[in-house]
Amino acid sequence: MSHISPGGEAWGSGSGQRARVVQSLTTGNYGHWYREDAFLKNWLAFERISEEKVIALLQRCNGTQYRPGKQKSPAGTEVHEFFPRDGDVEWYIKAYLDDDSDFAVIEAVFMSVHPSGV
């Protein structure tokens, strides 16, 4: 499965989105999309993977390991998908961002954090 972003090697706007996700992890203003199977699909929600490790994985991403996308449900939601590698292991990180300056928002909400193949 190829994860080439529309910009190929270039990050495009993805670099900025990655920085915002990392920033949310640093400040602790993030949350987790509610799903009953979060233990299996969102390892960060149960601290199966540390914040530090997720930051390191995100920082390791290059432009080909990022894909902006539209969520099927809720339809049309803009999400950010990262496919960083750690040795032989590919991870899958999906989050959405919110930045309404007029509202107290949760900056990033993680929908999936797990090794690929789950």
Binding site: G31, P74, T77, D86, I106
Partner: protein, 198 residues
């Protein structure tokens, strides 16, 4: 870290309404399916329109983890006698031969397998070792939190290990090299520290 308070307002992408909605932080019971538990009294962002749980903030993750750790079950596997000896040597090495060392040592290694894909891949490779072979003539039985076994089963599926007996064979063969032969000082040190507070 951002700390939210009850009754504070925010905005969420509601999984039930499938659009952005206003939300308020409330303390709720949070049902989980795997493991099948309910985390009680957890601060969550609740959708104003459908009253459903939308987002769990960072500050609430310790309560989720605590709830997931509650159910326990017994892991029963059979291993070759020489691998049971490896387990007791590991107890000598990292738990100073403690009578209660078998469960913590095996629990630690199972937890590491379930959450560390790199370790799990090494375990898979060690299943081919001569050390991992032989008739499974010894019972190993330990009480383990169910969430550890869920993680073990998930990781076994990812790396292609068929069952829990093979996982235990593999982690003991791997720990023989990593810990007893000190090929992975970080793992040995982390185990010893974990055993000290177990």
């Amino acid at each position: 870290m951002k700390i939210w308070k009850k009754d504070e307002e925010t905005r969420v992408l509601c999984p039930h309404c499938e659009r952005k909605t206003d939300a308020v932080f409330q303390r709720r019971s949070v049902p989980l399916s795997s493991p099948n538990v309910i985390a009680e009294n957890v601060l969550v962002a609740v959708c104003r329109e459908c009253d459903g749980i939308a987002v769990i903030p960072r500050q609430s993750t310790p309560k989720l983890r605590e709830a997931a750790q509650m159910p326990k079950e017994t892991l029963n596997v059979r291993v070759p006698g020489h691998l049971e000896d490896v387990l007791y040597l590991l107890i000598d090495r990292v738990a100073q031969g403690s009578d209660s060392g078998k469960s913590p040592v095996l629990r630690y290694l199972l937890h590491e397998f379930g959450n560390n894909p790199a370790f799990a891949r090494r375990v898979k490779l060690h299943l081919e070792d001569d050390l991992a072979q032989g008739p499974a003539d010894q019972d190993v039985s330990v009480r383990v939190p169910s969430y550890i076994l869920l993680a073990v089963d998930q990781m076994a599926g990812i790396v292609g290990i068929r069952n829990r007996s093979e996982v235990v064979r593999g982690i003991l063969a791997s720990a023989k090299e990593d810990v007893l032969e000190e090929n992975d000082p970080a793992l040995s040190g982390a185990m010893a520290r974990a055993m000290a507070v177990a």
